[in-house]
Subunit: 391 residues, 2 copies
């Protein structure tokens, strides 16, 4: 039973320090699909390369919940996301910086993308108050008051040692009127400018974020303003905030083509396997989402046909793996019956094994998409993908 | 960072099916300490061998909380304990049996010791009623009523496919009068006889349990009666139930020498590192306890000098490992600061990393004791051990 880890290790492409030192962030487009907007690319960072389209697992508090860095690497994960808001409040970016930065702190030597903290300020904290200067908020942990400004967001991310930093923005809620969305967008544009001005890194990347709510004209204006400032990559923010899926696809379809071709395009907070396939088809390169990890902890497991819920009584004595043929550690070694038992008994191992499978599913889906783009058969891949989905 | 798992794998002594098939359980005493009662031995089971003195991590619900079997093996664990009471109630021994037994179910192919379920019936269940036939109890999970008899305890453990089964007994509470302890002991003796009579295995081991409360005369009577029935090994039960440590050592000191020399002697539910050293010195061969795993999940970590509590504010920015020089995965790759952060943030990885270290500590302590016995320096080892303990 011990071949598993050596196999995982063998799968890992260790960052070779000798051959992979990069002086600054860069991105190359390797192939563009002729039939769709999909594209194959590669990002280079000081901590290694990332093949795109890429799915970025979320490591909120300097850990992708339940897994070790070695396991992530073994699953094919090339980059993770960490949350500035959470790490600023606990243990503090000063502590992490003193300990040698986030990579060393959490023992992950691959690329790290950090968000700006803005999203969590708006979704988690209490009594937030926005001014032109920034946003004053109370910690959801202890009620302490803090001011997050564009300059502070840069300072924190730099102290963490992020490879890809994000501008502070206001995530426009849904629904919002045109006027509200415009006001919010202008604030984000102003903050983006200040982030760019205060960012001191030459080596790492800073991405701009396009807001604009569900309004195509605002999104177009957002793209123009943010690309005018000029960043190493661009994200579409303010999606996956409760709007209908069609609206999310609509905004993405109209916004993605406006973004420069030569840098990565990142759709934040997305999504389901269907979302990923659709948005890759529209030309998106990067995604982050808690779906594979959070749903794993809730017992929802991803399979070719859709999802299964492991707590279902039908799995009580089911000797089959989550998905026949899946080569992940969980599917190789454990039955649905055992996974159901662990989950019903609230055993810690349940969360690990479920997370392992779900991350493998997402990472493999991205790899399959990359192969399909490379081999100029992405349109067919998409058809096949949907034909398997039954629920 | 990926060398760790290959190192762990290399440490694992995989059970070699070709060379290690045993027809029935056996035990050999390899060396007896001249200055103390300590002894070095080896148990052979159908699922591999166990070097004694041995510490048995507790895998209550068919999982040693938070760890995989590969990790346990990598930490040097040779045998685990599973709880009959828990597995009988959920998922049911019928389910596990149908799926090929506990080893296959939980993906652990080393030896498994199962308790009889008696201890949990008395400590966890509601409305238990003891008769000569057995004990009627209500499940702590759903209130359903069940009857556990000696015959049923054997049936369940055989269905699980246990390598070392334990007789059903009544764990005499502390304090108990001589009369109460005697009555309880007689019941356990009667049940031991019935377990022996109904046990169908030829391949696996059945251990008898000596009760008798804190009374030396009852313990002596217990030994006589249980050895008269005849088992593959003997356990001292009813210790570590709230009595002062000196009383536990006293009963052990008077009871252990009465047990046959040729079979394993198992002190159930013990203990701290100090307990283990003391009881090995008195001639005990096996121990099981939730201390390393449960305390890990509460943030208490074992070190040479005693314990540290990782939530202590002094570790907030501490770059040192739990214990300098400890070769466990946790100590090799993570700082106290990171472990404290994970623990304060209630991150799942905290429980894994803490458990990894604590199990390594216990397993290594046993290994050091075995080496000391082998090299006829156990008395010195014991002195050195205590001289390091400062709290």
């Amino acid at each position: 039973m011990h071949s598993v880890y050596s196999q995982l290790s063998a799968l890992c492409t260790l960052r070779s320090v000798a051959t992979d030192i990069v002086m600054s962030f860069s991105f190359e487009v390797i192939h563009k699909s002729k039939e769709t907007g999909a594209r194959l690319g590669k990002m280079h960072t000081a901590h290694g390369s990332v093949d795109t389209p890429s799915f970025i697992p979320v490591g909120t508090q300097a850990t992708v919940k339940s897994l070790t860095p070695e396991e992530l690497c073994g699953l094919g994960v090339q980059i993770i996301l960490a949350n500035t808001y959470h790490l600023f409040l606990r243990p503090g970016h000063d502590v992490i910086s003193k300990l040698g930065g986030l990579h060393k702190f959490m023992h992950w030597d691959g690329p790290i993308l950090t968000d700006s903290g803005g999203y969590q300020v708006f979704s988690l904290s209490k009594l937030r108050k926005i001014s032109d200067e920034g946003v004053t908020f109370q910690s959801h942990l202890d009620g302490s008051t803090h001011l997050l400004t564009p300059e502070k967001a840069m300072e924190i991310q730099e102290a963490l040692g992020s490879d890809i930093m994000m501008c502070l923005d206001e995530c426009t809620p849904y629904p919002a009127t045109h006027t509200e969305s415009q006001k919010s967008l202008e604030l984000s544009i102003d903050w983006a400018r200040r982030c760019k001005e205060s960012c001191n890194t030459e080596r790492d990347a800073l991405f701009g974020i396009v807001q604009g709510g569900m309004f195509h004209d605002l999104r177009a204006h957002g793209v123009e303003a943010v690309t005018d400032i000029g960043f190493d990559g661009y994200a579409i923010g303010g999606l996956s905030v409760g709007e209908p899926t069609e609206l999310m696809f609509g905004v993405s379809a109209s916004t993605l083509p406006l973004l420069p071709d030569s840098v990565p395009r990142y759709v934040m907070g997305v999504g389901t396997p269907e979302d990923l396939v659709e948005l890759v088809s529209l030309g998106a390169d990067m995604f982050d989402c808690v779906i594979p990890t959070r749903n794993a902890r809730n017992g929802q497991l991803f399979v070719r046909t859709g999802t299964i819920n492991i707590c279902n009584a039908r799995y009580r004595a089911d000797p089959e793996p989550i998905e026949a043929g899946c080569p992940c550690y969980t599917c190789r070694e454990y039955s649905r019956a055992y996974l159901r038992h662990l989950f019903m008994a609230k055993e810690l191992l349940a969360y690990r094994l479920n997370t392992t499978h779900n991350i493998y599913f997402f990472v493999s889906l991205m790899k399959e998409m990359r192969n399909a783009i490379r081999q100029e058969r992405f349109a067919q891949f998409k058809k096949d993908f949907y034909s398997q989905r039954t629920g």
